[in-house]
């Protein structure tokens, strides 16, 4: 151990283990998390840093190999702890999995677990859940979630993809009629997923009923070849998350059975009659789940960055505070403390806010089961603004941590650039931050 770091640890005035337990929400949670991370940190699950020198394709291939090895552990944890998708345990194990070193530039299977399955849960009827979820749990199918289009982002009412009901065959016919209507960005869609939840404008009996969710098979379950009428591929290199095969999807008269529309809230009957949802916002359920996860992840990214920066600042010595003295630890400079300590405090503030959001989300779901939608606008507004402010603050502070480490923070091997790449992606996915703040503003103005 570096002597300076050792000295820092000796002068700490509080019990670190007690603080860890406080952060995890109790000793039992700390124990569980450590058990999970110990398994995930076995040498066979840890990336070699030489992946930084791989090509885009090689990175994807390695990510698939390692994701398969790693996510097979999820079944092991699930068998041992018997959790379901709605349990805190599921969220915690996922956080550990996606936060492991193997996933440091993202996983092609992430969206399957974070969006595909939760979306089926929040948007599918109990029959649909019974049919799809076991297949998804066992990964006999792998799903993506396609909402954003090449020409259309956060404003989902403006999506162009269509799903037109044909009562003669009891099928939906899906189309992306223009280049701008091609689905763009879904994680895992490029080469990994064989199914996809597609958000499209529903047409039945000649009338448009707005956007709804449909499960579309995009690749053959055996050969993995794209099915007829499907144009699918990887959108290319990005600032970060290059292990995730974000994809594009074009649909040309793709027919799916009526039962593949997720019908928990709104339905299309066999004869094409549309049965409206109690509240159209209920379709945003999966997005709200993801936003709660994002806020929590944001605290994790920031805690990683600030841990790196503070330890480095304790080891790094530069300049003299007083003439004739040895070079001092850069952590002794108030300017350095100003950069870093607010990041530590922000980790706690974001984590606590994320917990509050999670509690609100769970309370809403319980009330929803009882038929109450009273909390929906508040939850939506809360999820929007917390996602926006927390991702923005976290990104700013991670960059500040990188700058606090000087040139060494610019090295990929510091892991600060990759951490920044992951954190800043969250500022745009699942709703651009400015648009989300305007959604909160709409709620406030209405209030």
């Amino acid at each position: 151990i570096n002597k300076d770091l050792q000295r820092e640890r000796e002068k700490c005035t509080f019990n670190i283990e007690e603080m860890t337990s406080y952060i995890d929400g109790g000793q039992e949670n700390t124990k569980k998390r450590r058990e999970t991370e110990a398994v995930l940190s076995k040498p066979e699950f840890c990336n070699d840093s030489s992946q930084d020198y791989l090509s885009h394709t090689e990175k994807y291939e390695l990510a698939i190999k390692q994701s398969v090895e790693l996510f097979s552990l999820l079944r092991k944890f699930q068998n041992e702890r018997n959790f379901s998708i709605t349990d805190d345990d599921y969220r915690d194990v996922l956080t550990s999995l996606l936060g492991s070193s193997t996933m440091r530039d993202g996983s092609p299977l992430g969206v399957h677990y974070i969006m595909f399955m939760p979306a089926i849960l929040s948007l599918g009827t109990s029959e649909q859940q019974k049919y799809w979820l076991p297949r998804a749990w066992s990964c006999s199918i792998i799903g993506a979630y396609a909402q954003t289009e090449l020409g259309h982002g956060t404003f989902i009412r403006g999506l162009e993809a269509t799903a037109t009901y044909d009562p003669t065959t009891q099928e939906f016919v899906l189309n992306t009629p223009t280049l701008t209507s091609y689905k763009w960005w879904p994680g895992g869609l490029g080469r990994t997923a064989n199914y996809c939840i597609v958000i499209a404008q529903l047409y039945t009996k000649g009338k448009c009923h707005g956007v709804h969710s449909f499960i579309v098979q995009v690749r053959d379950e055996e050969t993995h070849h794209p099915l007829s009428g499907i144009k699918v591929g990887d959108i290319g290199s990005k600032l970060g998350l290059n292990s995730v095969d974000n994809g594009y999807l074009g649909l040309d008269n793709v027919r799916i059975p009526r039962s593949h529309m997720l019908m928990k809230h709104a339905q299309v009957l066999e004869d094409g009659t549309y049965v409206k949802s109690k509240n159209s916002k209920l379709n945003y359920g999966a997005m709200m789940f993801v936003r709660t996860v994002i806020v929590r992840d944001t605290a994790n990214f920031l805690s990683r960055a600030v841990t790196i920066a503070v330890r480095f600042s304790a080891v790094r010595r530069q300049c003299q505070l007083k003439s004739g003295e040895p070079e001092c630890q850069i952590l002794d400079y108030f300017t350095q403390q100003h950069k870093l300590f607010i990041a530590i405090a922000t980790c706690h503030a974001i984590r606590i806010s994320a917990n509050k959001l999670w509690e609100t989300y769970n309370a809403f779901n319980e009330e929803l089961e009882a038929g109450s939608l009273e909390k929906l606008p508040e939850l939506h507004a809360l999820a929007c603004c917390l996602k926006a402010v927390c991702t923005s603050d976290s990104t700013t502070l991670i960059e500040r941590c990188r700058l606090a480490c000087g040139g060494h923070g610019y090295m990929l091997s510091s892991n600060l650039p990759l951490t920044y790449g992951q954190a800043t992606a969250a500022c745009t996915y699942e709703g651009d931050n400015t648009v989300l703040l305007l959604q909160t503003a709409r709620f406030l103005a209405k209030t």
Binding site: C12, Q337, F341, L444
Partner: protein, 217 residues
């Protein structure tokens, strides 16, 4: 907004009614509670002024959609201010919750973190506070001093605070942030893994660089 006093407010916006009451914040004090109240006033005023501006534009004949767009900078700022109130209040309330269960040492350092976070945002949002709450230049000097004192108090615990995040080296995957602090050794080890260093002379020297240096390209 106009019928705020009559409607039932959900928890995250309940503060909007209190802040409109007379005497909610007549006098500034450099305390956490006062800063949070000050931020609540800022959020309320920002919502109020943006809604009033929106209404004014609509009444002057501008279509609602255009008025919304023209007011969107203020609306975004109002939403952000509201979110700051939620984060600050949640952080502070959580501190009160752990008062009975934690050791005095932990409570002290958590309290310092809450104070640091709150004072930091008060200083970041000074322009807003100056506009809407009775804060003086002397109060601001006091806030700056308080912030610097907090940095000083937190300094001895800095490494302990990040150690408490309990991030394994396998998760951090950082040459400069590992638990043992072997920063320079790890950086060198990583440099040696660079495939470009696998051979002493890269082939591009003979193909391009040498001819170029000799003026043949």
């Amino acid at each position: 907004w106009q019928s705020l006093d009559a409607v039932k407010l959900t928890p995250t916006v309940a503060y909007l009614r209190n802040t409109r009451e007379k005497g909610f914040l007549n006098k500034w004090e450099n305390t956490i509670e006062c800063i949070i109240r000050g931020m609540q006033v800022v959020a309320m005023r920002k919502i109020q002024t943006s809604v009033e501006m929106l209404e004014h534009r609509v009444l002057s004949g501008i279509p609602m959609e255009d008025a919304w767009n023209m007011t969107s900078l203020q609306l975004v700022a109002a939403a952000e201010a509201h979110c700051r109130v939620i984060i600050l209040s949640s952080f502070y309330e959580n501190l009160n919750r752990v008062q009975t269960t934690s050791s005095p040492e932990l409570k002290r350092v958590l309290n310092q973190l809450v104070e640091l976070y709150t004072v930091y945002w008060a200083l970041e949002k000074l322009g807003d506070l100056l506009q809407w709450v009775p804060i003086s230049q002397k109060d601001i000097e006091g806030l700056k001093l308080w912030y610097e004192q907090l940095l000083e108090k937190l300094r001895p615990n800095a490494v302990g605070l990040v150690d408490a995040f309990d991030l394994r080296d396998e998760i951090l995957r950082s040459t400069i942030g590992a638990y043992d602090g072997r920063v320079y050794e790890r950086l060198m080890e990583e440099a040696l893994k660079n495939p470009v260093n696998a051979e002493p002379v890269n082939k591009t020297y003979h193909t391009y660089l040498k001819p170029f240096m000799m003026g043949k390209l």
